[in-house]
Amino acid sequence: MRAAPVLRVAWAAAARRLVQSLVVFAVLAVSSAAALTGLTLDAAANQGYAAAIAATHGADLAVTINAAKVTAARLAATRHLLGVTQDAGPYPQTTITVATGAAAAGRPGGGGRAPEHLTVVGRASPSGPLDDINPNPSIMAAMGHSRWPERRGQISLAINTGLRLAVGGKLTVISAPGRPTLTVTGYGDTRVPYEDAWVMPGEIAALRAAGAPAQEQMLYTFANASTAAQVSADLAELKAALPSGAVASSQSLVAGPTPVGTNVNTPFVVTFAVLGLVLAVLITANVVSAAVIASYRRIGVLKSIGFTPAQVTATYLAQISIPVVAGVVAGTLLGSWWVLPVINPYPIDGVKVFIPLWINLTVPLGMLALAGLAAAVPAVRAGRLPAVQAIVAGQAPRAGRGAVAYRLAERLPLPTPVTVGLAAPFSRPARSAVTLAALLFGLTGVVLGTSLNTSIHKINNSAFHGLGQLEAGLSSRTDTFSPSQEAAVAAAIRAQPGTLRYVAESDLTYSGTLSGPRSVVSKAVGNPTPPVSVRIAGRPGLAVMAYAYNGDSSWLGWSLVSGRWYNRPGQIDVSTGFTADTGLTAGDRVTLTVNGKPVTVRIAGEVFVPTGLPTMWVSWQTLDGAAAGLTANLYDIALTPGTSTQAYTAALQRALGTGIGVSAPAGIDTFAPLDLPLFQWLTVLVAVLAGLGVLNAALMATRERIHDLGVFKAVGMTPPQTIPMVICWVLAPAVIAAAIALPAGLTTQDLLVRQLAPGNVLPGSFVHVLGGTDLLLLTLTGLAIAIAGALGPATWAARTTTGAVLHTE
């Protein structure tokens, strides 16, 4: 087959139909970029973390061994188990309770750092076969130069614990015989935080509490450990190889309650990527098929002058391949350029993440295949048509449909151009259905993106709910005021101009026995034993955060999911994590054990906090106040409107002196930070695709109906009348699409956003974020997109010279 005439005709046709070619180019470019972005973001999250773990020889599984129940030889033999690729240990391990200041001296309520539990492992070196630890992370430079313990009496703290002592600071191990003191040599950064601190191996025995069993830590990597199920299977194999009771506990960051490395953005990104791909499929198929069908007559002419069927097919495919290939290449490059700086912050510093090769190949080849398939079917069909039939097929009158639609539209009290325009899509039901589908998916994406952005914004902001505008406290939230300090601080706050209200707050955390996989979030909070012990009767193992307030706390603004804020002693509020773990809810009674004394309370309401931890809010009075040993950690402060935060902070700081800090609250940990700019970008992408879909539909309709346009004008339709008619060609599908897209987008948003919350419970105000006005604006936005997309072709149609159109006959 001679290529030259084929390419000549193809190039000429593509150049002559410049607008159509540009639309195809734009659609393929944006779709390819969207597909590449979506797939890459999904792959990058786990890839990045996996890469960082691999770079630091991170372990898939950490196992705590009861040393008394297994021999060293038997333990060593586990490295030969099928599936084990690497092992490290055994490292001696124990759990200690540390404190500073008065708490270390055993004076609860006397100020100083409240006791905390730490899991300590004895390692002579920060590097080993597995789990390389950075002994001097730059992020902790402010605390001093960190180094690994070199002798007994020294300890290095993991940065994940949240403990912040300066290098050289002292910790008292109040759980060990003799209450030894350890000097902090610095901080270690590990990518797999299975422990809280490190000492020399020989130190462990001295730090072990009286009667506590000897424990050891073993670290393993496996051939298959990328999912929780695989890790569970690996653990089962280990347990089977060891005596019963040898495995005290185990941890895996793959199989934890919040597997680290899981990107919570993934479900959202995947949803947008799917929307983008579907849109690309619909629009591309629509554009390419219509372009082929519109050229049937020309194809017939080509055949009549000697083009073979294969040459005709090749001509058409070549014509459409020019903008398709250009668009796919441009889109792949555009997507790559945009996504690389987005994915690299995902993981862990120093480890670069690249777009997987399979994505770089799959996306362009997939989009080319898709476009090729859409073009090939009608092109091959045209190639097989006899010349005269091809010419006739390009000219033949259509069967005509949509009589009912025209009749109904005719009855509307609207001008004829509008009624004709509204009814027109029904005369081409298949084409209109594809256009409708494209509009539907596009508008669904816009609704989803808009509501999602608002929800995520609220969720992210909820980290600051319940915290007051300012807080005054000691250097660590686990340090407590002495009674005299409390009185002085409260007096200073009261006396400070600009104070609207304040409340004293005690942060209590009961640490039960944490077993099994450990959540990174709870690691960050730490597990101190408070001077006041608050437990849930019958649930000694349940670790519960508790906020106790002395004064009116209702103004703090915690996000209530149900019920109300407690308003009298004997009531508490609990978090959604609490209700998920206990099965209790608002209205139920629960018995607490406060310093060993039972206290029955009623749950007044359920509160949303963006962490997974069971949490309760309670008044000092319910816990029996100072008699129970309660002291404040900090004071939450609200300012009178118009007060300068900066001036107030400076003034109160001067009044309180050094040692007590006044600052804006840092916000509590969220279960995951969500990437709001990313979703905004994805929403814009989908909206662009939706707009392109509308533009394409209007262009195709205008091209196909150019003859009808000429006839309308010949019988007296004015140019200004043709504009609303053309707009109405896409308006009816747009209205139908908007009516479906609105509930579809909101339902999808509801499903997606609830996945973020523990127990899938979120305050209604976080989910149903769009009010009546917002929904109306969204609907109007959808219609505006439709009108904007059709306006260009409509204006062109108005300017078309009637004689030129009809003269071609």
Binding site: P397, R398, A424, H707, V711, K713, G716, M717, L806
Partner: protein
Amino acid sequence: MTGVIELSGVTKNYTPGGVPALDRVSLEVAAGEAVAVMGPSGSGKSTLLNLIAGLDRPSGGTVTVAGQRVDTLGETRTARYRRTQVGMIFQFFNLVEDLTVAGNVMLPARLAGVGRRAARARAKELLARLGIDRYRDTYPGRLSGGERQRVAIARALVNNPAVLLADEPTGAVDTAAGRAIGQLLVDLNAAGQTLVIVTHNPELAERYANRVIRLADGRVISETGAAVPTGQPGPAGQPGARP
């Protein structure tokens, strides 16, 4: 000049500096006259018709229809002029395939502001007169060429235009249908309708027009047949006047 259609020194150039499609053409068509415009391909016949209809604009000269200067109207006013003053019949019908027969016929009336019921009644009347009322709710694609041309004629007549312009009205239909179409046009002219027909068929011109204007290379080269005084039906309206 006092005719319904007056062209004075009309020139049309499609390409600047090229051969004009019409070159200083002047002619007049009286009310009630049936005029055939003949000439070989490229002589300017269709161009002439398009200029009278306002579908195109002359490069020079004036075009006046029913006392209105058509060549100076803007697009919007030209469209309004076409609604009420001109009925166009094309060789290839130019019906809107997505509208039924009745919908096609009603279209110019609706654009002119006629109410739906009145437009429908007028369409019914015309379709009945043309013998195709039974196809009222049919789509044009299902009709024969002759039937489609009748629909086009009905559409052209719906607003009682001053002038009926037909561009090769029988060119796309068979002989029998063509004769029937021609007779229809004769009957319309006999009833007083001013008619301008473009054709390359001399037999058609002789049979259905009382005056034949011949064009060649954009110029009027001859006129045959009697010009009809204004207001009187032409010879086509008199029984036995045609062979």
